[in-house]
């Protein structure tokens, strides 16, 4: 969850609406807090402030009546505390978890995450390697080691680690996503395109993956890539036509302009370009900045 953006959170919708505005949080009842935390456990999104608030409220007011759910809440709270940099509280929660589950690897992982947040990367790595010695196929520990390398700025090391990991676990989408991000940061667009293709194969109807692939292709440049990029932008727009995906429309516009700069007479390109400009004008009330660029 730390390393990669969870693709599910992009395309799925939550069952209960999570209150985004902090002003609403004061009015949350105990039952609502419990449901919010459950919802976040089932459909993971990263909202550390909300989780921290709800969790603390539950702990302060009605800890004993939560029963065995309190341990899951402690775990969520630990991660939220690390995210909001409340490290002492995080250490306290881990202590409680450890007293209940003394030999648990999950708790060890949380402890190592706190060390990471403090900056003690060596100690964190030691704990993760210990976990991996006991269970060599532990997905989360692998991910965290990659995250540590990334935090240290060692992108090459992180890439190599992910390669090793993916040799065995070839169907782990989150890892491909992370590898793609690393390659983009390195500037290695061909390999990023490869990772993105893997993601597309796994989730062919995800508009965001299509969008990312189109952007990588556009960055690669060259007329073949640009034509492919145009196709994938179109596909992304078709998959998600709302204004949340105006990024795809904008990207499509840029690609069409770039193709037009090379070949002014491509009829298909001109058609698509006309369509895009019409669409951007139509979207002006929702996205005035983008439409302003048309002029």
């Amino acid at each position: 969850k730390f390393v990669s953006v969870n693709l599910n959170s992009m395309s799925s919708t939550c069952q209960t609406k999570l209150p985004d505005d902090p002003k609403e949080w004061e009015q949350l009842t105990r039952q609502q807090c419990i449901e919010i935390l459950r919802e976040i456990r089932v459909n993971p999104v990263r909202k550390p402030a909300l989780v921290y608030f709800c969790g603390l409220k539950l702990l302060n007011e009605s800890a004993s009546s939560l029963g065995s759910e309190i341990w899951a809440i402690y775990e969520q709270l630990t991660i939220a505390a690390i995210d909001t940099h409340e490290l002492e509280n995080a250490a306290y929660f881990v202590l409680k978890l450890r007293s209940r589950f003394p030999h648990s690897q999950r708790v060890e992982r949380l402890r190592a995450m706190i060390k990471e947040a403090e900056g003690n990367f060596e100690q964190a790595l030691r704990i993760y390697r210990k976990i991996l010695r006991e269970t060599p196929c532990d997905r989360a520990a692998h991910h965290r080691i990659v995250a540590v390398e990334k935090a240290r700025g060692n992108r090459q090391g992180a890439i190599e680690l992910l390669h090793e990991y993916l040799k065995v676990n070839q169907t782990d989408e989150d890892s491909y996503y992370e590898l793609m991000d690393l390659y983009i940061a390195e500037g290695n667009m061909r390999k990023a395109a490869y990772c993105c293709e893997e993601l597309i194969l796994h989730e062919p109807h995800n508009y965001y993956t299509m969008l990312k692939y189109a952007e990588i292709l556009y960055t690669l440049g060259g007329s073949d890539s640009l034509k492919l990029a145009r196709k994938y932008y179109c596909n992304s727009v078709r998959l998600n036509e709302s204004t949340a995906n105006i990024r795809a429309v904008y990207g499509l516009w840029q690609t069409c302009k770039a193709i037009k700069a090379n070949q002014n007479n491509d009829k298909e390109n001109n058609e698509v370009l006309a369509w895009v400009e019409k669409r951007l004008k139509a979207l002006q009330p929702q996205a005035p900045d983008v439409a302003a660029m048309l002029k």
């Binding site: 065995v168 169907t171 994938y232 369509w275």
Partner: protein
């Protein structure tokens, strides 16, 4: 004493009042068999929990299964990926990953890890375990048919056809007795099947007290763990005949036409 009870029962039956059974039967047969079966299920569950060792998945096995899954995903969604990517992946899979053995030597193919179903020692071990699961049942059946034989235990609340008489009224020698009056062995079997539901409530749905379910699961698992070499060969042929149908090609046209 037995005969006298039988005569009394038959006469009452003939008068159409239905049989009244001694309440001591309920106390000393019905409830003990039920309790014994319940304890048996609980003991099985706890023993299995104690004997369960941590699962160690071997890296090779997971790697091969994952490769197969990845190639399956590739074949399923290859229409969304451009031609170059499709060709490259297909070549990679058919030549490098699912390598055809150049010689006729079987070992040139991917080294199939020792799947449990093929390893002889592990097989014997599992068979012993399976046998051990049925032994308590056999013991109980013998116990019930020795101690609790020769009398009518209860009346079933539902009616059955006469064909079931031989099964349900094992120790009872009456020809004309209604099928609804059964012996204690049938109560034992009713407990075996009926307590499954109770165990799923008491112990959670994933309990080990039901031996037929466990057998079925093991058979299914054994069926899936085939030889990896064969699976690889199958995957290779699938890939070689796969064709690339590129869906994204007409995307732009469809977009412009749609709006």
């Amino acid at each position: 004493a037995d005969c006298r009870m039988m005569m009394m029962m038959t006469t009452m039956l003939l008068y159409g009042e239905g049989m009244v059974l001694d309440p001591r039967i309920r106390d000393w047969v019905l409830i003990p068999i039920f309790v014994v079966k319940l304890m048996d299920g609980l003991v099985r569950q706890f023993i299995s929990v104690m004997l369960k060792s941590k699962k160690r998945t071997s890296k090779d096995a997971t790697a091969q299964q994952n490769t197969l899954r990845r190639s399956g995903v590739f074949r399923a969604s290859s229409q969304f990926v451009p031609d170059g990517a499709f060709a490259m992946r297909r070549k990679y899979y058919t030549t490098k990953v699912f390598k055809a053995p150049e010689t006729s030597d079987e070992n040139a193919g991917p080294q199939a890890p020792q799947m449990p179903m093929q390893d002889p020692f592990v097989m014997v071990d599992m068979m012993k375990q399976n046998l051990a699961m049925f032994v308590p049942n056999i013991v109980f059946m013998g116990w019930v048919s020795y101690f609790f034989a020769g009398f009518v235990l209860m009346r079933l609340p539902f009616g059955l056809s006469d064909a079931f008489k031989s099964m349900f009224q094992r120790g009872i020698g009456l020809q004309s007795l209604d099928v609804r009056y059964v012996s204690s062995l049938s109560w034992f079997f009713i407990c075996v099947f009926g307590l499954r539901g109770l165990f799923s409530v008491l112990l959670g749905s994933n309990n080990n007290s039901d031996e037929t379910k466990i057998m079925r699961q093991q058979m299914a698992a054994g069926g899936m763990q085939q030889d990896a070499t064969k699976q690889f060969a199958a995957e290779r042929t699938e890939l070689e005949i796969a064709q690339h149908k590129y869906v994204i090609d007409q995307c732009e046209q469809r977009l412009v036409d749609q709006y």
